[in-house]
Every structure is written in structure tokens, then in C-alpha cells.
């Protein structure tokens, strides 16, 4: 019966695959969707310039990528995790529990986070305080912490037009969210004095625990629908803004630069975001981008070290390289990074 033959051959294929699975010959990368375009640019150029196959880059967010990275050592775990934030101590611990001990941290450069609205809508000049007053769950009114009463941008700052507050911010699985919370909301929280109030009333044993609790309370965003978490990609944020012209979205600089015909960017504390203003540190909302390499896989997966070295090479990640052209802010300390990669310098286990 031909059915029997087909089944038998299919089973044979499956059996062969299980045994040959131990011979993966391309680097596998997963993680932050912010790093994805940079990683795919590097992967493509790597495949063109070396005799190794083009590495495979998946997205899914920094946390998801690091979680998969920490699943263990072996052919069917990923070699590199991209992250738009530093690895957390908690994650290093989780890694160690699964036998992933030697992790090489590589900083590739900086990325700016911009606030943009529809090109035909109102333009804004923000300060972190404005964002805190617009989006925080609780704000200070006459020395008292109350539920955020602001409905329009004019309520927040009298210089702004009286349009409804509608913000699309990255969801909590994105590394971008953390930067937004730290550099914008928390900064605004401190500037308005809400932080001191929260700190004074915070519960906790030690001063450190109190500070942590106050910070956590600070970054809680309102849940009445004026702040919408976007769990998808920037294209989803863009689509939301296109359908709601009053909306303000949080984007990566590179995404904005590719869509300048649809979006207009807002200044933050008077500075226009650009690769230059981020490189000088004038524009406040930026963050470093990283990738993490499993040292145990170097020498096992062909091309892994070469990929890591190629990624931070001057002609790739430098000021005139393709990454900078796409929107990455080159790292001024790139040379130190190159050295660390070629020495395979790992993270301290107690960090």
C-alpha cells in the first residue's frame, strides 16, 4: 500500500531529523523587537561576507528573549538574546539555575525614544512633568495625592491645546516601557513632588525598600483608557494614531525616521530628538541596547563569535556604519566593547 510506504518514509524523515538536530550550523538569535532591525541588518551582512549561513533572528521582546536564552545550554536553545535593557539580576539567577553561567554582555549603542503625533495634528513640546501629569494614576493636587483628574492636554499644561489625552505607550513586555517609566514618568514624578510625598508615606523596613515602593507607586499609569498599552509593534501604535488623530505614541527613533511623512515628533525639555542630540546626551530619553551571548556555545555553533565580533566592528556599529544609518546612536566606547567581545569577557556571577 502506498499509504504505508508514505507513512514509513515520513517516520524515517522524522527519525533522521532527530539525530541530525545535533548539527545546527547557524547562529540563532531572539529577543527585543527594537534590536531586531539592527540584528537583521548585521545578520544579512554577516551572511554576505562570511562563509557561514545567515543567522536567524526572531523577535518577541527583551524579556521573552532572555527567558528563552536562560532555558539552558545546548543545540536547541538560542545562542544570542537581544535586549533593549540590561539583563536583570533575577534573570542572571534564572540562567544560572539552568546551567547558563558564562554570559557575555555586549552593548551595541544607544536608541532614542520619541513621542510623536500625526503629522497633521497638534505639535507638542513636552517635559517629563507633562507626561507624569497626563498619564500617572495619582498626581499631587494642593499637597494631596488624588486620582488623576486631567482630561485634556490643556489641563496638564496651559500652553497645550485642549485635546483629549490619548497616549499609546509600549506594553510591559517591551524594554521600551521601562525606559519610558524611568526617564519620563519617574522624572516627572520627582519634579512634581509626588515622589517625596510617596516616599514619606511609603511602607517598608529599610530606606531602600521605601524608595522602591515609592518608585513603584510613581510609575503606575492611569487605567481609565487614556493611556493604552500597545503589546504589538510600533506599526500597531502608528495604526492607532492614524485612526485617532489626537493620539500621541511612543516610538523608537529609527521607526520615526522611516515614517517622517506620517508622524511629527515632539521635543522633550526643548530638545529635538536626533542621533546627534542623543549621542551628546542632550535628549534625555534614550537607552543602551544590548545583546547577550552564551559563552558555552562559542566553538560549538559555527560563526557565533564571528557574528558577535562583526556586530560591534567599527564598519558595522561605528558612526558611519549601516546601523547608525538606520537610526542607532553609535556607542562612543565601542572599542572597549570590541575588546571585551574578543576576550569573551563574561558577566560577574554576583552582579
Amino acid at each position: 500500500m502506498s499509504f504505508v510506504k508514505l507513512t514509513a518514509s515520513a517516520l524515517a524523515i522524522a527519525a533522521v531529523s532527530a539525530s541530525s538536530a545535533a548539527a545546527r550550523d547557524q547562529v540563532q538569535v531572539a529577543g527585543s523587537s527594537t534590536v531586531l532591525p539592527y540584528a537583521s541588518i548585521v545578520a544579512e551582512a554577516f551572511g554576505e561576507n562570511f562563509d557561514f549561513p545567515t543567522p536567524v533572528v526572531e523577535s518577541g521582546g527583551s524579556s521573552a528573549g532572555l527567558k528563552r536564552f536562560c532555558e539552558g545550554v545546548g543545540e536547541n536553545t538560542i545562542d544570542v538574546a537581544n535586549a533593549s535593557r540590561k539583563i536583570k539580576a533575577k534573570e542572571v539567577k534564572a540562567c544560572a539555575e539552568n546551567g547558563v553561567t558564562d554570559i557575555i554582555e555586549v552593548r551595541i549603542g544607544y536608541d532614542g525614544i520619541v513621542f510623536a503625533s500625526d503629522i497633521n495634528a497638534n505639535s507638542f513640546e513636552y517635559t517629563p512633568t507633562d507626561w507624569f501629569l497626563a498619564l500617572s494614576d495619582k498626581i499631587m493636587v494642593d499637597g494631596q495625592l488624588v486620582d488623576n483628574p486631567n482630561k485634556t492636554w490643556a489641563d496638564v499644561n496651559s500652553n497645550f491645546p485642549a485635546v483629549e489625552i490619548q497616549a499609546f505607550v509600549p506594553g510591559t513586555k517591551h524594554g521600551t516601557r521601562e525606559v519610558f517609566e524611568d526617564k519620563v514618568i519617574l522624572a516627572g514624578c520627582e519634579a512634581t513632588g509626588a515622589f517625596e510625598h510617596l516616599l514619606a508615606h511609603a511602607e517598608g523596613e529599610t530606606a531602600k525598600a521605601k524608595k522602591k515602593a515609592a518608585e513603584k507607586a510613581c510609575i503606575a499609569l492611569r487605567t481609565d483608557g487614556r493611556s493604552v498599552d500597545i503589546d504589538g509593534d510600533y506599526t500597531e501604535t502608528l495604526a492607532r494614531i492614524e485612526s485617532n488623530k489626537d493620539g500621541i505614541g511612543v516610538f523608537g527613533l529609527a521607526f520615526y525616521e522611516n515614517n517622517t511623512d506620517k508622524l511629527q515628533v515632539a521635543t522633550m525639555s526643548g530638545i529635538v530628538p536626533s542621533t546627534e542630540s542623543i549621542a551628546t546626551g542632550e535628549y534625555p530619553v534614550s537607552r543602551p541596547l544590548f545583546f547577550y551571548v552564551k559563552k558555552a556555545h562559542i566553538g560549538v555553533i559555527p560563526g557565533l563569535k564571528e557574528y558577535a565580533e562583526f556586530f560591534v566592528a567599527e564598519e558595522v556599529a561605528g558612526e558611519d556604519g549601516p546601523l547608525a544609518e538606520y537610526g542607532l546612536v553609535a556607542d562612543p566606547e565601542l572599542e572597549a566593547t570590541q575588546e571585551a567581545v574578543s576576550d569573551e569577557k563574561t558577566l560577574d556571577n554576583n552582579s
Binding site: 545546527r24 531572539a30 532591525p37 526572531e58 543545540e75 538560542i78 506599526t235
Partner: protein, 448 residues
């Protein structure tokens, strides 16, 4: 209530030809129902027309691409400093080393055509796709004897130039764009006039591999199409025999008891399980437990097999049930065994129905993205064309719907066009498969 209805039905002495109030009401109700039916169909048709026109109008652009014809002098001093044509040494020159050649070539091109422009050679070369250096390097490595000569190349133009020729990019929209300036567009106009820049059909979109975010113009759906093809091979090789065997046993041989009832209910339920559930199952069983490679079409095929099996079993059982018992009785009556009756008489008669069900199941599997998300088939993956069948099954690859999803997410609007173009290709496949299913049914199915 019933009394009232009864008393109304009493006076029936009119002729059939004269309409009473009640007949009129009934006729009106029927007309209304027909009107509703037609309206429903019209709404459906309208949606279909809207969908098809949107897809076609947004997607056809992807099949055309802008090319720039340019003569490049393959300088020996840049590509092979020692001049011994040692391929290993030529390979040491990276794609970055080829960029100056393109700058010179573009400068010469503009000078030869005596077009006046104040653009620097860097901005001239920026009209070319970022893939040009890779194309050039691949050519030199394949033909090292051409070093030192001037060769004519037809490179892709960068996505903004392409968008300008397609009307997506306008002079107003490039005001804030740092990838292209109005002056570069002036030059593009001049080069279009002399025929150096032209828009032609682009086969690479159908056959090529995915490209990174910086070069949407070079991206193609070919490799992910191969990924889909390999997955369908796995699905066909596993789901058809398993599904048909299971349904023949259940329909013809299995005793009717509580156990087969439970199995039957479960199969019907499985057909309604959301596909993402099969993805999670695939991740847990095939990758984490069986250690099959991530992102491999083999795993994708196995997951889709699980998803397609219930569809195939249900349609096969329906096809077997449609064969009248007289056929079986006649076969058994002349001395055939149960198995002979099934395989010699029932199965051939049910085959068109089985094949139709299989093709529809495959078409459903072909368009599935959700389970592929979990087994790592979405991302920048479809970059290496598989060379052997084993490689096609095992090396990482994407699938057509996953590739479309990936393109739709990317920042450059040029990828959006390609996503629509990919939808057209996917739809062509689906329509073809469904047409084959319809033809099979029409030509071979027997009615009893």
C-alpha cells in the same frame, strides 16, 4: 392564543386568484425574505470586491521594481591588491570595501550623461539599494577574471526611489526624510528620462529571500514559499495516511460502543480547537521534549498535521458514509472479505471526497500563522534558500503567512507594499487549491 388563531383561519371561501389580506401578507413576507437574502449576498459580494480591490491595488506594486543600470569598474587596486587572483584573498574584501566602487560608478554615470547636480558621490550612490554591494561582491567572487574590467550591472534602486516612481513617495513627503532629498529626486527624474532608471517586472520578489530592514526593495517571498511547501509535504505525508486509516477503521471496522463514541466526540471537538493551542503543544512536545530543531519546517509541518487531522478525518468519514451500503453488501455477497470490500470498492468511490477534504485541509494549514509564532518561524528567518530536501525540512525557515505578518510589522512603508504583494501570492495558492478541490468533486464524485 391558539383560539384566536383558529378563529382567524375560519373564512376561507375566496378564489385562489384573488388575493386576500392574509395571502398578501404571506407573499409580502416571502418577498421581504428574498430581499433580505439578496441584500445579504450583496453585502458579502461588496466585501469581497472591496477586499480584492484593496489587495490588488496595494499589492501589485510589489511585483514591479525600479532598477538602475550602471557600469562599474572593478578596480584591481581595491579588490585584489596583490593581483594574483587568489579567491581566498578576494573574499577578504568585505562588502564595505565595495562601496567606493559604486560611488565612483555613480559619479561617472552622472558625468557621462552630463547631468548637472551638486550632490556628493555618497548621495549619488545612495540611490542604489544597499544590496548592490552584496550583488557586486558575489559577482566578483564568482568571476574573478573580470577584475580590472568595466562591467554593466543592473542594480535595484533604494526603496524611496522605487516609491517615488510608484507614487508612494512624493516631494512633499520627503521634506523630513533623511534617506532621500528633493535634489536626489531631481536626479532620479533626469535618469528616468534617459532610461537609466526604469521600473520593470521583478521576478526576485516571487523567488528571492527575505532582506533586512534597510533594504525592503530586495526582499522576496521565495524562500518562505519553499518553507510553506516543505511544511505542506510533511502535512500531506502524515495527515493523509493517518487520517484516512483512522476514518476507515472508525467507519467500517470499529464496533459501536462508548469508547468509539468518546473518540468521535473528541475528533469533532479537536476540529474546533484554536490553532495556537497546537502551536503550544508543538513547542512542548516536538521542541522541548523531542529536541527537534527550532524554526524548522519539519516541526511546523508536524504541528499543522495535528491541526489538519480532524478536518481530514471528518471529511473522509463523510465521504465513506456517502457510499451506499449496497456496494459493500454486493462485495461481501460475492465472497469478498471486509477489507477487500473496503479497499476495492468503497475507498475508490470515496476517493474524490477524501481528496477534496484533504485539499481544503491543506489550504487551511497553508494560511495558518498562529502556531508558527510559537515554534520560532516568525522573524528574520527566510534568508537562506534550502538546497536539499533534508535542509529544506530541518534548516530554519519561515512560511508565507508568517513572512507577510513579519513584513507588515516593519518600519519602512516599502515593506507594507510587499506584505500586500505576499497576500496576492498566498491567495493565488489558496484559490488554485480550492479550484482543484471543486474540479475533483465535480468530475469524479458520484451521486447515488
Amino acid at each position: 392564543m391558539t383560539d384566536l388563531g383558529f378563529s382567524q383561519a375560519q373564512p376561507v371561501q375566496n378564489s385562489l386568484l384573488t388575493e386576500t389580506a392574509r395571502t398578501r401578507k404571506r407573499n409580502a413576507a416571502e418577498r421581504r425574505f428574498r430581499a433580505f437574502g439578496i441584500a445579504a449576498i450583496m453585502v458579502g459580494l461588496l466585501m469581497l470586491i472591496l477586499l480584492v480591490t484593496t489587495i490588488v491595488s496595494k499589492g501589485t506594486g510589489a511585483f514591479q521594481q525600479t532598477f538602475i543600470t550602471v557600469n562599474v569598474e572593478l578596480l584591481e587596486s581595491k579588490l585584489d591588491k596583490k593581483g594574483n587572483r587568489n579567491i581566498e584573498e578576494i573574499k577578504k574584501v568585505t562588502t564595505f570595501g565595495y562601496a567606493p566602487l559604486l560611488k565612483t560608478a555613480m559619479k561617472d554615470l552622472v558625468a557621462d550623461l552630463s547631468i548637472e547636480t551638486s550632490l556628493k558621490s555618497k548621495h549619488l550612490a545612495a540611490l542604489l539599494s544597499k544590496s548592490a554591494v552584496a550583488e557586486l561582491r558575489a559577482y566578483v567572487i564568482a568571476n574573478p577574471d573580470q577584475i580590472g574590467k568595466t562591467v554593466e550591472f543592473r542594480f535595484l534602486a533604494q526603496s524611496r526611489v522605487d516609491g517615488y516612481l510608484k507614487g508612494r513617495v512624493t516631494r512633499e513627503s520627503v521634506v523630513n526624510d533623511k534617506n532621500i532629498s528633493a535634489e536626489q529626486l531631481d536626479l532620479v527624474d533626469a535618469l528616468v528620462a534617459v532610461g537609466t532608471i526604469e521600473k520593470t517586472f521583478n521576478l526576485d520578489f516571487i523567488l528571492g529571500s527575505d532582506a533586512s530592514d534597510q533594504r525592503p526593495e530586495a526582499a522576496g517571498i521565495g524562500v518562505s514559499m519553499a518553507g510553506s511547501l516543505f511544511m505542506m509535504m510533511v502535512v500531506l505525508a502524515l495527515a493523509l495516511p493517518i487520517g484516512v486509516a483512522a476514518s476507515i477503521y472508525l467507519e467500517e471496522f470499529a464496533p459501536r460502543n462508548w469508547l468509539t463514541d468518546i473518540i468521535e466526540v473528541n475528533i469533532a471537538n479537536l476540529a474546533a480547537v484554536p490553532s495556537i493551542v497546537f502551536g503550544i503543544l508543538g513547542l512542548a512536545v516536538f521542541i522541548n521534549y523531542m529536541h527537534l530543531p527550532m524554526s524548522a519546517p519539519l516541526v511546523g509541518g508536524l504541528v499543522l498535521t495535528l491541526m489538519t487531522l480532524p478536518t481530514i478525518i471528518i471529511s473522509t468519514r463523510a465521504a465513506l458514509k456517502a457510499v451506499p451500503p449496497s456496494i459493500r453488501d454486493a462485495a461481501l455477497g460475492v465472497g469478498a472479505s471486509k477489507m477487500q470490500a473496503v479497499f476495492h470498492h468503497v475507498l475508490p468511490l470515496a476517493a474524490p471526497g477524501i481528496l477534496t477534504g484533504t485539499i481544503i485541509g491543506l489550504a487551511q494549514a497553508l494560511g495558518e500563522t498562529a502556531p508558527l509564532l510559537l515554534i520560532g518561524m516568525v522573524g528574520f528567518i527566510a534568508s537562506n534558500a534550502p538546497e536539499t530536501i533534508a535542509e529544506g525540512l530541518l534548516s530554519p525557515n519561515s512560511a508565507m503567512p508568517a513572512q507577510i505578518y513579519e513584513w507588515a510589522k516593519r518600519a519602512d512603508p516599502a515593506f507594507y507594499e510587499r506584505a500586500w504583494g505576499g497576500i496576492i501570492i498566498l491567495l493565488v495558492f489558496l484559490v488554485t487549491m480550492n479550484t482543484i478541490a471543486v474540479i475533483l468533486r465535480r468530475r469524479f464524485e458520484r451521486r447515488w
